[in-house]
């Protein structure tokens, strides 16, 4: 029972890191970025390939798995995404679906279509026994890392000057610009952080989801979107609660009533959106 709860929390935390980048771009910047999973895939590949080809230790690869998608994110943001900030949701959807459709064949072309595994180091495999409850070490590691990321991100957005500037830029770009905030730069940095977090999530998730393959961006796209929609646009905490809720429900559902499978999370999403169209933890005046 406790093991299931813990697995659910760990899975939820993982979902959170995967989706937290999206809650920055979609939740905060109001950009419907369906290509989010592509950045996660890049991060996963970076970790898998560095370990496989260079023999790099797992922990060393993680910052790189953050940096590479972040740089890629900035490049794409500067060249393409920024043209669509004010565009209609339909245009944003079409554009990012186009990016996903391009990313998958590129990955297939460069790396082949078999899944790349991330082999965990010895100190992360196996499980611990804490007071009679069996806990996988890697899941514990995920909970700790993701908890740190969640806290850091929340502080970053709420307490720092940059976070305040970002929120101002999102609320009204023109006024923010008039106040001397470099909106362009702020958006570029926020987008980079969002993409980097996606990459980190992809790297951490690789082991849990059975490796990274070219179909990754589509396979988990829906899950990311569900997390962010359930969480609402209220920054990071909404996404965190949304992810934990989904993680626990999904793992518990698959354990206790395996016959209904993925049904639960879709049902949760639809019911949530019926009851609270703006998400569970939305601002009252969210736009």
């Amino acid at each position: 029972m406790l093991t299931i709860l813990f697995d659910g929390v760990a899975y939820g935390m993982l979902l959170f890191v995967l989706a937290s980048g999206l809650s920055v771009t979609l939740g905060l910047m109001n950009f419907i970025n369906l290509a989010h999973g592509a950045f996660a895939m890049v991060g996963g590949y970076v970790t898998a390939l560095m370990m496989e080809r260079l023999g790099a230790p797992f922990l060393v690869t993680l910052p790189v798995a953050f940096l590479v998608p972040a740089v890629l994110g900035v490049v794409l943001e500067r060249t393409l995404y920024r043209r669509l900030y004010g565009a209609s949701p339909l245009d944003q959807v079409l554009f990012t679906i186009g990016l996903v459709l391009m990313a998958m064949p590129i990955a297939d072309f460069l790396l082949g279509d078999e899944a790349r595994q991330v082999n965990l180091p010895a100190w992360l495999s196996g499980s611990l026994n804490l007071g009679g409850v069996g806990i996988s070490r890697y899941r514990l590691f995920i909970v700790v890392v993701c908890g740190v990321i969640a806290a850091a991100l929340q502080l970053f957005l709420v307490r720092t000057r940059f976070g305040a500037q970002l929120r101002a830029a999102v609320d009204d770009a023109r006024v923010a610009n008039g106040l001397g905030i470099d909106v362009d730069r702020i958006f570029a940095v926020a987008f980079a952080v969002g993409s980097g977090l996606a990459g980190l999530g992809g790297a951490l998730a690789a082991d849990v989801v059975g490796g990274i393959d070219p179909s990754f961006p589509v396979k988990f796209l829906v899950t990311f979107l569900i997390v962010v929609t359930i969480g609402g646009s209220n920054g990071i905490l909404g996404a965190l609660f949304g992810a934990l809720l989904l993680g626990v429900l999904d793992v518990a559902g698959k354990y206790y009533v395996p016959s209904i499978g993925a049904f639960i999370i879709y049902a949760v999403m639809v019911v949530t959106l019926i009851l609270r169209p703006q998400g569970l933890f939305a601002r009252r005046d969210s736009r």
Partner: protein, 338 residues
């Protein structure tokens, strides 16, 4: 008519009836499509695929083009219509017209039930709700394999259309002609619908729902109505797909079905009904050509096309298509679905 006594009313009426008339170019469009089926019997399967996809795209145009409602869940109705027709056929009710009607009806019912979900929230909420419903149904179909055959699909055979024309592997040209007939009839209905007062009210809702409401249009009811009609069309497309290919599989509910149909409609241009059919033809021929050259990577080129389309500007691109197409089909009404 009393209204015709006033000069303005007379001019409006003349304008509306001119709009309602079938133009020569439109008749030529349909004759050309018919001629293509007769002229290329070896490509009948491909043409049939285009016709069915065209009907599916038309169903999306009804809500996106006419009422301005974005949806990523049109596959739900395609899948439900296909499975309804297939299950019916597997229970020995093999008449295709019956299956078509049942497929459309079941999908319409589902559309009617889920339409209220669209009335709340912004575009993003609608995208998510429609996507969620289609995934839910896909999961349901997957889990209830006693009814749907699960991942194995269903085994069924279809009786000849109207008891005369066998369709399926042996009669692919008949299948294409059957799809053509269904598409044409449903298109004519949609065309009439677009020009009716109901269609004009939808255009008002698309442009500005708040103002349309202030004019006394019951916007909620009309959105529910057009969504139900659109679902019926998608269900009919699903039934046609199941009957003419004699395959149903769980991937009917997949996200990529909803995404593809949106691409088709966007390529052809939304709002003037021919866009979906033209887009389906372009999309499927393009896919056929590209995947013949690079079978694994054709998605890349479709993706590139989409990105370029959005960056260059959909309107500009659609103008190009329309100008090219206006030789064949009439110039669409102004105002594009955003």
């Amino acid at each position: 008519m009393i209204a015709a006594t006033s000069e303005t009313a007379r001019r409006i009426e003349a304008h509306l009836s001119r709009r309602a008339r079938w133009r020569l170019s439109e008749i030529a469009f349909w004759l050309a499509a018919l001629a293509a089926i007769v002229a290329f019997p070896s490509r009948a399967a491909l043409i049939n695929e285009i016709l069915v996809a065209g009907l599916f795209a038309l169903s999306l145009d009804l809500i996106l083009g006419l009422a301005g409602i974005v949806s990523l869940g049109q596959a739900a109705f395609l899948g439900v219509g296909a499975y309804a027709a297939a299950i019916l056929a597997s229970k020995d009710y093999a008449d295709p017209t019956l299956g078509l009607a049942v497929g459309a009806l079941v999908a319409a019912l589902l559309g009617f039930v889920t339409a209220p979900l669209l009335l709340r929230g912004a575009d993003l909420t609608r995208l998510m709700v429609t996507l969620g419903v289609s995934l839910l149904l896909g999961e349901l179909a997957n889990r209830n394999s006693w009814l749907t055959g699960g991942a194995d699909g269903l085994n069924f055979s279809i009786a000849p259309v109207l008891g005369l024309f066998p369709i399926g592997f042996t009669g692919q040209r008949n299948a294409a002609l059957y799809s053509f007939a269904v598409l044409f009839v449903l298109f004519a209905v949609a065309r009439r619908l677009r020009q009716s007062p109901f269609g004009l009210a939808l255009a008002a809702i698309r442009e500005n729902r708040l103002r349309a409401g202030a004019l006394g249009i019951d916007t909620s009811w009309r959105i529910v109505a057009i969504y139900t009609v659109s679902a019926a069309y998608a269900g009919a497309a699903g039934a046609l797909l199941a009957q003419t290919t004699q395959i149903v599989s769980l991937d009917l509910f997949d996200f990529h079905r909803s995404a593809d149909v949106m691409l088709m409609l966007i390529i052809g241009g939304a709002g003037y009904l021919y866009g979906g059919i033209i887009g389906a033809a372009v999309f499927i021929v393009l896919r056929d050509v590209i995947s013949a050259a690079t079978p694994e990577y054709w998605e890349f080129w479709i993706g590139l096309l989409l990105v370029v389309l959005v960056i260059v500007g959909r309107e500009r691109f659609q103008d190009l298509v329309r100008r090219a197409a206006s030789v064949v089909v009439p110039r669409p009404a102004r105002g594009d679905a955003a």
